[in-house]
Amino acid sequence: MASLHAMLIYTLKRLLYVTPVVIGVSIICFLLVHIAPGDPLSAVLPADATQELVDQMRAAYGFDKPLPVQYALWFWKVLHGDLGTSIATGRSVASEVMRAVGNTLILATVATVIGFTFGTFFGFVAGYFRGSPLDKVASLVSVLGVSVPHYWLGMVLVIIFSVELNWLPPTGAGPDGSAAWRPDAEHLRYIILPAITMSVIPMGVIARTVRALVADILDQEFVHALRAKGLREFGVFRHVVTNAAPTALAVMGLQLGYLLGGSILVETVFSWPGTGFLLNAAIFQRDLPLLQGTILVLALFFVALNLTVDVVQTGLDPRIKRT
């Protein structure tokens, strides 16, 4: 473990580096509303609005000011936790997003844990027995994992386990269409199919990474030295695990971030009440403030997660130089 002082300095440096990225992300999210075709006000105004009313609304929303000024005003509000008001529901975007983010986080976390468990298993088997039929099978599983259109896989799982076997519910997060997932037996049945569907991509990615890592570590001289010293295979295995763990965990953290942002397709298939579902609604109701707010929150989550993974990995792994 590195000295606390050095870690602190490294963390501050990373924070400093990430600030322009955060500003860039906010600019892209801000511009989303402006690349949209047509007047951003067309969704709130009646079709026969008078020019006077249009001008009034334009001023009220601040659309009459130059773009950089609009951005500064918007960013200032965002810094205070104000993401605007949803056009469709009239509620604050921040509260809508926060409600949905919890559900997405639960789903993505469960999916990552499943994907990580199976991914490391397949990866270890493939890396340990490189070139064997076991390796071929494990590699095939990982290629399948990264190639499958997961929205289709979701449909297939629904067909098998809900339509044909009638074992699990096809959609929703809980009985009687409950909007929040709770960790009890009844709700657990609802999360199984979407979580398995979502876990396939991280499983493939993690299996690939771990296979390469393990194969690489087994080739190193210290492993030969350990074996020459007479260490049992289990002891060697422990060394391989400790060497592979920091990278594998870092990949897992990043995959969680990808799932948080990429859940929209799976959430749509299963009507899971998370951010993906919210995005879907925002897109089809042309609710641009909601779209903008949800994307911003998810992207910032992703940036924060990247930063955390980076700092934690550096803290755990003494081989990484802090620069």
Binding site: I35, P37, P149, V163, G257, I264
Partner: protein, 297 residues
Amino acid sequence: MAAITDIGLDVPRLPAPRVGRGYWAGVGRRLLRDPVAVAAAIVILAIVLAAVFAPWVAPADPYRASMLRRLRPVGDALYPLGSDELGRDMLSRIIYGGRLSLLMGLLPVAFAFIAGSTIGILAGFVGGRVNTAIMRTVDVFFAFPSVLLAIALSGALGAGIINAIASLTVVFTPQVTRIAESVTTQIRTRDYVEAARASGAGPLAIIRVHVLGNVLGPIFVYATSLISVSMILASGLSFLGLGSKPPEPEWGLMLNTLRTAIYVQPMVAALPGVMIFITSISFNLLSDGLRSAMEVK
């Protein structure tokens, strides 16, 4: 001493080294020896040819609906792969569907390859502030998971094939740029580039002769590895209703409109996804084969 000379004379003469047949010929030869890559290439070729020659290959009109013959099962006498929710022939729609699905999956990668290599090579070759400005901008795009960025852009732009292709191009360009920049930066400091510069070659000549020849291969391999993701995302956008519009046959859209049919004809409903899966996995395997044939790490 004499003995050694004698032995030297006894050594059978090795055949003269064959003249190199060029790098690409070697890549092609290695690729042809890889059975998995060859199989993947054949599958892709079959799907592409079927899509291009769809009017001759497809047994029926993909748009002709029949209210009386809706949702027929796979293996029906009239419909070999069943019929969809409007009674259209699934086999014909899947064959025609390849046109849009392939176009929407391949074009973004092609555009991103052109734009990303140009920007990345420029950044890598010029270096300095230009490099910093370009690469920091690229970092911002990396702060979005690809699926999220694709959906954000096409969601804001609105549904449509062109918008979907444009969104995916924006998603993939920064990724290609990053690879192009890193390989160009490596090449730029090589001795032969220094030698060329010292002997008076201009920047354009160096880029054309020394840089392009060495960086386009790795960038190309990387771009091919994006095709599978691009196919899945493009069909995914259509699946969400953000890509192609009905009644166009397109695999993602077909999957979407058939979602309600999973209780009646589950096999038929899952078919378009099988096509996306087969295409995506074939592109992945071919790209992997190309990577090892070109010995790119």
